[in-house]
C-alpha cells in the first residue's frame, strides 16, 4: 500500500504524486541493469591478465566468476542507495509531517540475510574447486627447480641437473622452464620472508625461512614474463626481479646441457 507521503491533495481529492515512480521498480531495475551488464561483460577480462600458466588460467576463470556475483550485488546496492537519495529526499513543498516510523520488517530482514548466505556458499564452492586445482602438485614433474630467495636476489637450482642460475645486481636471473610440461618449484628463503610472484601467472607464494613450499607451474606455450618479490623484504625489495622464460622441451634440454658443461668447466653459476 502506498503511504500518504506518496499522495497529494489536488482539488479536494487525493492524487498520487506524479514524481513518484512505481514502488517496486528499483530492485527490479537494478537486477535488469545487472543482467545487462553481465551479458555485456562476459567477454571482459576485468583488468586481470588471462593467465599464461594452466594454474593461472584457473585463477583467472575464478576471478571472472566472482565478478559475475560482484557486479549484480554492486549494481543492486548502489541502485538502492541512489534511489533512496533521489526519491526520498525532502521536497520543497514538504508538509513537515514525519514519515512513517518503520522499525522492523522481519520477512525482509530474513530475506537479506538468507540470500547473501546462499551466495557465500556458492562462492565458497567455486573457490574450493579452483584452489584444489591450483594447489595440486603432481608426483612426477618434468623438472624440479629449487628457488631460493635471499636479500635481494633469487637462486634457481635445477634438481639433479647440476645447473644453478643466480641473479646479481644489474643482472636479472632467468628461470628457464619447458613449455607444455609441468615444472615443480620448491621455494625456500635464506633470510627474511620473500614472495615469488609472476603477475602473468596470477600466482604468488611466500618464501619463508624454515618453510619449504612446493607448487607446480604448467606453461602451455613459450614466452617470457617478468616476476617480482611481492613480500616487502628490506632495502632493495624494489629490485628483486626475475624473469620466467618458457621454451620448447627440446630447446630446454639443449639449454640444460649447455649450462651443465659451462658450469662444470668454470665451477660457477650463471645468471
Amino acid at each position: 500500500m502506498p503511504g500518504p507521503e506518496d499522495r497529494e491533495l489536488v482539488n479536494g481529492s487525493w492524487k498520487r504524486r506524479t514524481a513518484a515512480g512505481p514502488r517496486r521498480r528499483p530492485p527490479w531495475l537494478g537486477a535488469a541493469a545487472g543482467s545487462a551488464a553481465l551479458l555485456a561483460l562476459t567477454g571482459c577480462d576485468f583488468g586481470a591478465p588471462p593467465g599464461a600458466s594452466t594454474q593461472g588460467r584457473t585463477i583467472a576463470d575464478l576471478y571472472h566468476v566472482l565478478w559475475y556475483f560482484a557486479i549484480p550485488v554492486g549494481v543492486i546496492v548502489y541502485g538502492l542507495i541512489l534511489w533512496s537519495i533521489f526519491r526520498y529526499r525532502k521536497r520543497r513543498d514538504d508538509d513537515g509531517a514525519l514519515p512513517k516510523q518503520t522499525r522492523y520488517a522481519f520477512g525482509l530482514e530474513v530475506t537479506y540475510t538468507v540470500i547473501p548466505i546462499l551466495m557465500v556458499v556458492a562462492i565458497f564452492g567455486f573457490t574450493y574447486r579452483a584452489e584444489q586445482k591450483v594447489d595440486r602438485v603432481v608426483p612426477n614433474p618434468a623438472v624440479v627447480v629449487d628457488v631460493d630467495g635471499f636479500q635481494w636476489q633469487w637462486r634457481f637450482t635445477y634438481e639433479g641437473k647440476g645447473v644453478t642460475v643466480v641473479g646479481t645486481p644489474g643482472n636479472v636471473p632467468t628461470l628457464v622452464l619447458p613449455a607444455g610440461q609441468t615444472a615443480q618449484i620448491v621455494l625456500r628463503s635464506e633470510d627474511v620472508v620473500h614472495a615469488f610472484y609472476v603477475s602473468a601467472f596470477l600466482f604468488q607464494r611466500q618464501a619463508i625461512p624454515g618453510v619449504v613450499n612446493r607448487f607446480d607451474l604448467t606453461i602451455p606455450s613459450p614466452g617470457s614474463w617478468p616476476g617480482v618479490c611481492s613480500q616487502y623484504c628490506g632495502l632493495d625489495h624494489t629490485s628483486m626481479d626475475f624473469i620466467v622464460r618458457a621454451v620448447p622441451p627440446a630447446t630446454f634440454q639443449a639449454w640444460l646441457s649447455e649450462q651443465q658443461s659451462s658450469q662444470s668447466a668454470t665451477g660457477g653459476t650463471s645468471s
Binding site: V77, K100, T102, A105, I123, P209
Partner: protein, 555 residues
C-alpha cells in the same frame, strides 16, 4: 538526576575553561576526548604528509625524489600512523566523549585510568615519531613488522626498538580504555537505558572494546617476543635456532584482523546514529544491526589467516569460508542503512553527505574484500596495489568518511557552535572526488601486477598512468582536507550558535547543553526507546510513535 522531572531546567551550569595544567591533569571524559581528537588530527596531518611524499615518489617511473631507505621508513610510518595513531584512537576519543553522554552517565567509570590511557597513546605516538631522529632513522620494516625482517640482524638501530615500545604503550593504553568503556556501559547507564535502548554508536563501541581486549594482548605479546629476539637472543622467530617465522605472522594477524574491525565498527556506529536523524526515521532493524555487529566481532577472530593465504602453511579453505561469511552481517548493515533512508524525508546537511560518501566508498571496499577472501584470487592480488586500494577504500573511504560525518554531526554538541555548511560541502566534494581519483586507479595498477612497497618502477611495466592519476587525485583530496582545516578556523572565528539540538537528533547526548556541563546532565528525558530525546521533543506528535509501533526491549 531523575526521570520524573517533566521539563528541562532553563539554565545549565557551564563547562569551565582549562589552562595548560588543567589539560595535562584532566580526568574528565570530554576533555580526554578532546585530547584524543586533537592529537589524532595532528597525527592525521603528519600521516597525510607522508602519503604526499609517497605519491610524489610514485607519480612517474624511475623517480629519485626519495631514496630507498627514506621511502621504506616513510611508508612504514605512514601505515603505522594511520592505523595506530589516527583511525583506531579517533574511535576511542569519540567514545570517550560520547559514550557517557549517550547512556546518560556523568563520566567514564575510571577517570584516572582514562587519563593514563590517553597519555600512553600520546607518549607512544611521540616515541614513534621521535625515531626519525635516531641514528638509523625510523623503523622501516613495514607497519606489519614481519619477523625476521624486523629482527636486529636485518633491522638494526634504535628506531625499530622505539617503534616496538611506542606500539606497546599504545596497546596498553587501548586495553585500559577498552576495560573502562565496558565498565562504563555495563555499570553506568541512566535509569531506563536498557542495553537494547542504547544508541548504536555505543553498542558498536562496546563490541569494539571487547575486540580490543581480544586483539591487543597478542600484539603486545608478539612484539615483546620480538624485543627479546632483538636484544636477549630469544630466537622466537629464527628458524635456524628452533624458532618460527610463521609464528610472528599468526600472532600479528590474530591482532591484525580484529584490528580491522576495531577500525570500522565505531564508524559503522556513527553512520547508524546519523542516517536516521537526516532521514527523519528511526534506524531500520535495530536488533539485526546489533546482532550483525556481534557476528562481525565473532567472525573477525576466526579469519586472521586470510592475510596468510600465500604462506602455504595455513588451511586456506577454512579461512576463505569464514572470511566470506563476514560479508553477510556487513550486508545486513547496508540494508539497515538503506532501509532507514527508504521512504524517509532525507536532507543533506554535511553529516549526511559524509555518510552517503561512506556508503558509496565502503561498498567498493566490501565487494573487493569478498574477492580477496577467496584464496586463489589472493594468490594473484595479495601484496599488490589491488590490496592497497581495497584497504584504503575500507579505512579511508569508509572509516575516515564516517569520522568526518561524526565530527560534522557532533561538533555543535562539543563546542556550542556549528561548522560552516558551505565550506563543509565543498570539502566533502573535493575529498570524495579526490579520494576516488586516488584509489580507483590503484586497483588497475594492482591488476597489472604492481607489488606494494616498491620505491620505483620501470616505464615499461604499464603502471605509469594509474600512478600519475592517483597522484593527481591525491592533490584534489588534499584540497578537501585543507578545506576542513579552513572550516575549523572560520567556524571557530564566526561562532554561529548551534543550540542544544540543531539536527533534531534523538539520542541522549542531545538532551544536554552544547557544550555539556562538567558532569553532563542536570535533567534527563524519560528513556523509553533508543531515541529518548526524539520521543520527548515529539511527545505530542502521534506520527512519532506511529508506524508499526516503537518496539521495546530486545529482539
Amino acid at each position: 538526576m531523575s526521570t520524573t522531572v517533566t521539563a528541562p531546567p532553563a539554565e545549565h551550569p557551564k563547562a569551565k575553561r582549562l589552562g595548560l595544567i588543567g589539560w595535562l591533569t584532566t580526568t574528565n571524559h570530554k576533555q580526554i576526548g578532546w585530547l584524543y581528537l586533537g592529537t589524532t588530527f595532528v597525527f592525521f596531518l603528519a600521516g597525510g604528509l607522508l602519503a604526499l611524499l609517497i605519491r610524489i615518489q610514485l607519480s612517474r617511473p624511475d623517480m629519485s625524489f626519495l631514496s630507498r631507505q627514506e621511502y621504506n621508513q616513510i611508508f612504514t610510518i605512514h601505515g603505522t600512523t594511520m592505523v595506530f595513531l589516527v583511525i583506531a584512537p579517533i574511535g576511542l576519543g569519540l567514545a570517550n566523549y560520547f559514550v557517557p553522554l549517550q547512556i546518560g552517565a556523568p563520566d567514564m567509570a575510571f577517570p584516572r585510568m582514562n587519563a593514563l590511557g590517553v597519555w600512553l597513546f600520546i607518549g607512544g605516538g611521540l616515541t614513534i615519531y621521535a625515531s626519525f631522529l635516531s641514528s638509523h632513522g625510523a623503523a622501516s620494516a613495514g607497519w606489519t613488522f614481519y619477523a625476521p625482517l624486523s629482527d636486529s640482524q636485518f633491522s638494526p638501530g634504535a628506531g625499530t626498538d622505539m617503534w616496538i615500545m611506542g606500539i606497546l604503550c599504545i596497546s596498553t593504553g587501548s586495553i585500559l580504555t577498552a576495560v573502562n568503556l565496558m565498565a562504563t556501559v555495563f555499570m553506568m547507564r541512566a535509569p531506563g537505558m536498557t542495553m537494547w535502548r542504547m544508541p548504536l554508536f555505543t553498542w558498536n563501541m562496546l563490541i569494539t572494546a571487547l575486540l580490543i581486549l581480544v586483539a591487543f594482548p597478542p600484539l603486545a605479546g608478539a612484539l615483546a617476543l620480538l624485543f627479546i629476539d632483538r636484544h636477549f637472543g630469544g630466537h622466537f622467530y629464527t628458524p635456524a635456532f628452533g624458532g618460527s617465522a610463521v609464528l610472528y605472522q599468526h600472532l600479528f594477524w590474530f591482532f591484525g584482523h580484529p584490528e580491522v574491525y576495531i577500525m570500522v565498527l565505531p564508524f559503522f556506529g556513527i553512520v547508524t546514529d546519523v542516517i536516521p536523524v537526516f532521514s527523519r526515521k528511526p534506524i531500520f532493524g535495530y536488533a539485526g544491526f546489533v546482532l550483525a555487529s556481534m557476528a562481525i566481532a565473532g567472525l573477525s577472530m576466526a579469519v586472521w589467516a586470510h592475510h596468510m593465504f600465500t604462506t602455504g602453511v595455513v588451511d586456506n579453505p577454512f579461512f576463505s569460508g569464514m572470511s566470506f561469511l563476514i560479508a553477510v552481517p556487513t550486508g545486513i548493515k547496508f540494508f539497515n542503512w538503506i532501509g532507514t533512508m527508504w521512504r524517509g524525508k532525507l536532507t543533506f546537511e554535511t553529516p549526511m553527505l559524509w555518510c552517503i560518501g561512506f556508503l558509496l566508498n565502503f561498498l567498493i571496499g566490501g565487494i573487493t574484500g569478498v574477492m580477496l577472501a577467496s584464496a586463489p584470487i589472493d594468490y594473484n592480488m595479495n601484496n599488490t596495489y589491488f590490496v592497497v586500494a581495497h584497504m584504503h577504500y575500507v579505512l579511508g573511504g569508509g572509516s575516515l568518511f564516517a569520522i568526518f560525518a561524526g565530527i560534522y554531526y557532533w561538533f555543535p554538541k562539543m563546542t556550542g557552535f556549528r561548522l560552516n555548511e558551505r565550506i563543509g560541502k565543498w570539502g566533502f566534494w573535493f575529498t570524495f572526488v579526490g579520494f576516488n581519483l586516488t584509489f580507483w586507479p590503484l586497483f588497475v595498477a594492482g591488476l597489472r601486477g604492481m607489488p606494494r612497497r616498491i620505491q620505483s618502477y620501470s616505464p615499461s611495466a604499464g603502471w605509469t598512468d594509474p600512478n600519475t592519476l592517483a597522484t593527481i587525485g591525491f592533490f584534489v583530496l588534499l584540497v578537501g582536507v585543507i578545506l576542513f582545516a579552513v572550516n575549523l578556523i572560520v567556524s571557530i572565528r564566526t561562532r554561529e550558535p548551534a543550540g542544544d539540538n540543531p539536527w533534531d537528533a534523538g539520542t541522549l547526548e542531545w538532551a544536554t547543553t552544547s557544550p555539556p556541563p562538567e558532569h553532563n546532565f542536570t535533567w534527563l528525558p524519560p528513556i523509553r526507546s533508543e531515541r529518548p530525546v526524539f520521543d520527548w521533543n515529539h511527545r505530542n506528535d502521534a506520527a512519532a510513535a506511529g508506524g508499526d509501533g516503537a518496539r521495546e526491549g530486545g529482539p
